[in-house]
């Protein structure tokens, strides 16, 4: 498939140099007494594919919830293309496309109805929305399923519809939280390839949260989150050299203290 997130006539090279796509400064968040995020700071440059790597429970989803303004951090600041998510949430959110870890399509509605609903939530009228939906569904070969209820789609198809939904309003920054969980190898590879193409062809910025180390390979930047703390931030080569390791698996083991790398879904 060839996903396209924006019109080619709207390049933003001037902006790319000026401001970070996402900037977190000293973000902390607690669930009661338990610290989910502890003084996390990083920034993502525009048009980069950034992987947020961490085991289940590391704080990835909490971080996504804060960036998407589902709730506010106790301390620190989050900026999306320079817009503070708390003070200018509308301006920040309109530039975000989000694919949550949990499936968020309405199973009782059709693919088209789900996508039109999302378009309306971004103030996009039906005529324009229909045009974009047709283009995007055509790109992922799901045009023939457009009037089908989401309940009837496979897991991979649901995920792909969720991704094009996140692109429908043409965001500048795409957040994907464990987008390939539960998918087969082929579907995973296809989605990764397409997202990577979005970055290179359309200049969209991507933050890809995963606990799967083999998805790090294509990243421009890697963030390693462990027990709510950011323990590494940089290109793969930088992380390898700073940890004195040869593979990202070894680096991750060294950074997190996990020795049994066969356990990818949680702490051994």
């Amino acid at each position: 498939m060839k996903l396209q997130s924006r019109s080619p006539e709207t390049p933003r090279t001037d902006e790319r140099a000026a401001v970070a796509a996402l900037e977190l400064a000293s973000i902390s968040y607690n669930y009661g007494q338990r610290k989910a995020l502890d003084d996390v700071s990083f920034s993502i440059e525009p048009a980069r594919f950034t992987v947020l790597l961490g085991l289940n429970g590391a704080g990835k989803t909490t971080l996504f919830s804060l960036v998407s303004h589902l709730f506010s951090p106790r301390t620190g600041r989050i900026r999306v293309f320079g817009q503070d998510i708390d003070r200018n949430s509308g301006q920040a959110l309109r530039r975000l496309g989000i694919v949550f870890q949990a499936r968020t399509l309405d199973l009782d509605l059709t693919v088209r109805q789900n996508l039109l609903y999302h378009a309306a939530l971004h103030g996009i009228g039906t005529r324009v929305a229909r045009q974009r939906i047709d283009e995007l569904l055509h790109a992922i070969d799901l045009t023939d399923r457009i009037e089908e209820k989401v309940r009837g789609l496979s897991g991979g198809q649901v995920r792909r519809v969720e991704i094009i939904r996140a692109l429908l309003h043409r965001p500048s920054l795409l957040l994907l939280d464990e987008a390939t969980v539960g998918l087969d190898i082929k579907s995973r590879a296809t989605i990764l390839k397409d997202i990577r193409a979005l970055v290179e062809r359309d200049g969209i910025s991507v933050l890809w949260a995963t606990h799967l180390i083999d998805e790090v390979g294509q990243a421009d930047q890697v963030l390693v989150l462990d027990k709510g703390k950011l323990v590494a931030d940089g290109p793969v080569a930088t992380i390898l050299s700073s940890t004195g390791t040869e593979t990202i698996n070894q680096a991750f083991s060294k950074l997190t203290g996990i020795t049994d790398m066969n356990v990818r879904g949680g702490r051994p």
């Binding site: 709207t10 989000i98 949990a102 968020t104 009228g125 043409r170």
Partner: protein, 288 residues
């Protein structure tokens, strides 16, 4: 570059916010989605009608001879018990519909659909009010379907009353919908919703003027009478009852509007990201 066809990501021109048309598009989208969900749940429509009809056909018929209703405003003559409880049954539909919307919001939150609404760039208060209006729209349809059936059962009000109750139903629906919205922010899990039935719906319904005139209640239990007076549902029912006869019960109108504002304000506050009430650990899909 701020019209509906705008590329949302561009920031080379200063974004001045959404236009009125885009606000309307958003509202329409939420209304349509609520309507489509309602149509896809036919059993919801049937059950919303069966409940008040059972009260009308069985309960009211059985109690007609037992419970005498004297001439009290807005009635100018003796009325059948079925006629007396019809406004209360309209209120019952709105009450259950409000709670159904609440249940739907808890379900949406657990299933994740709620997040799509909450990450919209429109102001959160606007999204919640739109959601509330969508729920009220659906409940009004249910009320009129009930009244149509009641008409054929010879339970009738003046024809004009069927039009005049619309604002009363709307305000009552807003109040009960706002209550449901507030509850949805407080209910942690879908399983806890049964408690809502026992602790909110039934007490509100029974401790009101829906089934018996308040003077009757006062005769039998002064305490219950005071509770009924404190119950906002009483005022919603009276507002509807008077509207049927082209009269405005001002006290009821003021109470309903004031309670609506208070509940809606509390619900918006409860869904404020800074309060952290809407997204708890368990709402994160089991992850962190």
């Amino acid at each position: 570059m701020t019209d509906a066809t705008d590329f949302a990501g561009s920031s080379r021109e200063k974004w001045t916010g959404f236009s009125a048309n885009q606000y309307f598009i958003c509202l329409k989208g939420i209304l349509v989605r609520e309507w489509l969900r309602y149509l896809s749940q036919k059993e919801r429509f049937v059950s919303s009608l069966v409940r008040p009809l059972l009260w009308l056909f069985i309960f009211a018929a059985g109690f007609r001879q037992v419970l005498g209703v004297s001439i009290i405003p807005p009635y100018e003559t003796y009325v059948l018990y079925e006629v007396y409880i019809t406004p209360g049954l309209c209120g019952m539909i709105l009450l259950f519909s409000g709670m159904q919307s609440s249940l739907s919001m808890v379900y949406d939150r657990e299933m994740g659909n709620m997040r799509i609404l909450l990450v919209s760039p429109f102001p959160r208060w606007y999204l919640l009010v739109s959601k509330l209006l969508a729920g009220v729209g659906v409940s009004l349809l249910q009320v009129y379907a009930f009244l149509a059936i009641a008409w054929f059962w010879d339970v009738r009000a003046p024809v004009a009353g069927y039009f005049l109750i619309l604002p009363a139903l709307f305000f009552a629906g807003l109040m009960l919908g706002a209550l449901g919205m507030l509850l949805s922010s407080l209910v942690k899990q879908l399983e806890n919703f049964a408690g809502i039935m026992n602790f909110v719906i039934f007490p509100m319904y029974f401790a009101s003027s829906a089934l018996y005139p308040l003077w009757r209640v006062q005769e039998s239990s002064p305490l219950l009478y005071k509770i009924c007076l404190l119950n906002p549902f009483t005022y919603a029912v009276e507002l509807i009852r008077f509207a049927f006869y082209a009269r405005i019960e001002w006290t009821s109108l003021v109470v309903v509007l004031a309670v609506t504002l208070a509940l809606l304000g509390a619900a918006i506050l409860a869904y404020n990201p800074a309060r952290g009430l809407t997204v708890r650990k368990q709402d994160m899909g089991g992850s962190q």
